[in-house]
Amino acid sequence: MAKKMMKGNVAIAEAAVRYGVRFYAGYPITPSSEIMEYLSWRLDEVGGAFVQAESELSGVNMVIGAASCGVRALTASSGPGISLKQEGVSTLCDEELSAVVINMVRYGNGLGTLYSSQTDYLRETRGGGQGDYRCIVLCPYSIQEAVDMLGLAYDLAEKYRVVTVFMAEGALGQMMEPVELPDFIETKKNYWGFDGKYSYKKIGIFDRDSMKEAVALREKYAAICENEQRWEDEGIEDADYVFVSYGLTGRSTLGAARELREEGYKVGHIRPITAWPFPHKAFAKINPNVKGIITVEANATGQLIEDVALATKKAMENNVPTYALPYVYGIPAIKDIKEDFVKIANGQVREAY
């Protein structure tokens, strides 16, 4: 099939249908609304169900209901809407139900703005709900990757019985670029789904042992960390400086890194595809004599930098300095990244960690 210009949100919504999503519930919010607008009529065509919930809170709980029946269920939102889903996400993880939550990230605290951003990184990777669960967090850098990755999002969620957070910058949902859609898969029901017959004897809350579960949880998370780190890297083995950046911001940073290479700077680039588990393994390949690791981020305070500093500490022998370049919102311009890099190379920027 030839690639066609498609809007990110629409391509993602259609991909969801093709990957077997048969339930959507949510509440509109810019810049994610087109996903639910599309599914509001599309799911009906494939025998799925769609509910416009009265709120995000209710929406995620409807998803819990559908997921408990073993159906591929989806909800999407942005900004404050995702905050309202946190109790539900924690519950999905606790009940070992799998689902995908799409966050088309918009900028700002509180009501915020509609600008595209990466401002929810720490929340999505650490969990904004009660307890210490983790969600697998995928961050696509193009509409094509988003569309391809949605199947993986469900496969991983179901393999480990966790939630996958699909974390994309708002701009990815609003922009268009050429896309090839995946084929339809056959829909199936997860074996643990309710059927009214008590076929799968789900353990009740009063029969649970938190201490044992904590151990099992750690093992599960360790397995995910070991098996599911995903990233792309380039030119890091001989680099003086390595950029780390994901999503559309990572794409722009890749452009900056390549231009800098051409201009004679020995820079490399790591693009995390999974934000959790964070690609620690990528850091093991970095030139041991690297002078610094630099994050490029679209938020106000620098968030990715924490994982980068932790990965640096863990993977590298020396205490390599790490720098954060937070561009607040939008997609940082290649020119700006290059200029700011030069400042770092010249020692004009203080390290973050």
Partner: protein, 247 residues
């Protein structure tokens, strides 16, 4: 000649309620109705948080412990993807009418084809007897030490009346466990509610007046009298919306 009566198999595990708590009676009635309607092997429960959660321990059936207040939304998701199953919520007054009012109301509003059972014991039993929207005027609770002042906290909420009068629901009723005669009536309400769902008529709700001896500071028998003397006059039992009745 005696008629055999036995606790239905799907709930035949000891449950963790206080002595004289009404929950046990209600749960048994639901089990009886499901069995008699041939649905006991075809049911999914969305269980609220509160003393109702204890149901989870006694039940041999598909069941999910929902976030506090959200059972009606969870049940919506369940029913929309499993249309053949009977989907029931089992919730307290605090769960369904306080924190969960939006989800409870909107399920009724959409006339979602589910059955909602709410246990109204006029307080938050599990967490230490705080005031609820169903707490009676003047009732002392741990957050209304001097007795509930309805002028600033509102008058006890009649949710079934609300949805019966405002929305296009299939069936609504209120029962009580205070005495055998009312328990028998209550069973008929629950049966109707489940039948409504089986026929795809839409949303059905049965609220049950139930005692909370421990937080009311009464003996079980006193609690039943309290229901009759104080609670029921304000919360009348009976069918509030008959099946087939026009909105």
């Amino acid at each position: 000649m005696a008629v055999e009566r036995k606790v239905p198999a799907i709930i035949d595990k000891p449950m963790n309620f206080c002595p004289g708590c009404g929950h046990g009676i209600i749960i048994r009635l639901i089990g009886e109705c499901l069995t008699e309607l041939g649905q006991d092997q075809n049911v999914i429960y969305a269980i609220g948080v509160g003393c109702s959660s204890n149901l989870g321990g006694g039940l041999e059936a598909d069941r999910l412990h929902c976030c506090h207040g959200r059972a009606a939304a969870v049940a919506t998701g369940m029913k929309r993807v499993n249309k053949e199953n009977i989907v029931l919520t089992y919730q307290g007054d605090g769960d369904a009418y306080c924190i969960g009012i939006a989800e409870s109301l909107n399920a009724a509003y959409r006339n979602e084809n589910i059955t909602v059972i709410t246990i109204n014991n006029t307080n938050f039993g599990m967490t230490g007897g705080q005031m609820s929207v169903t707490t009676m005027e003047g009732q002392k609770t741990s957050t209304s030490k001097l007795g509930r002042n309805c002028d600033v906290t509102g008058f006890p909420m009649k949710f079934p009346e609300m949805v019966a009068s405002q929305f296009n629901v299939a069936y609504a009723a209120r029962g009580s466990v205070d005495k055998p005669q009312n328990i028998i009536k209550l069973k008929a309400y629950i049966k109707n509610a489940i039948e409504a769902q089986m026929n795809g008529e839409g949303y059905s709700i049965v609220e049950v007046l139930s005692p909370c001896p421990i937080n009311w500071g009464m003996t079980p028998s006193q609690s039943m009298e309290h229901i009759r003397d104080v609670v029921m006059p304000y919360f009348p039992i009976g069918v509030l919306k008959e099946r087939g009745e026009k909105a």
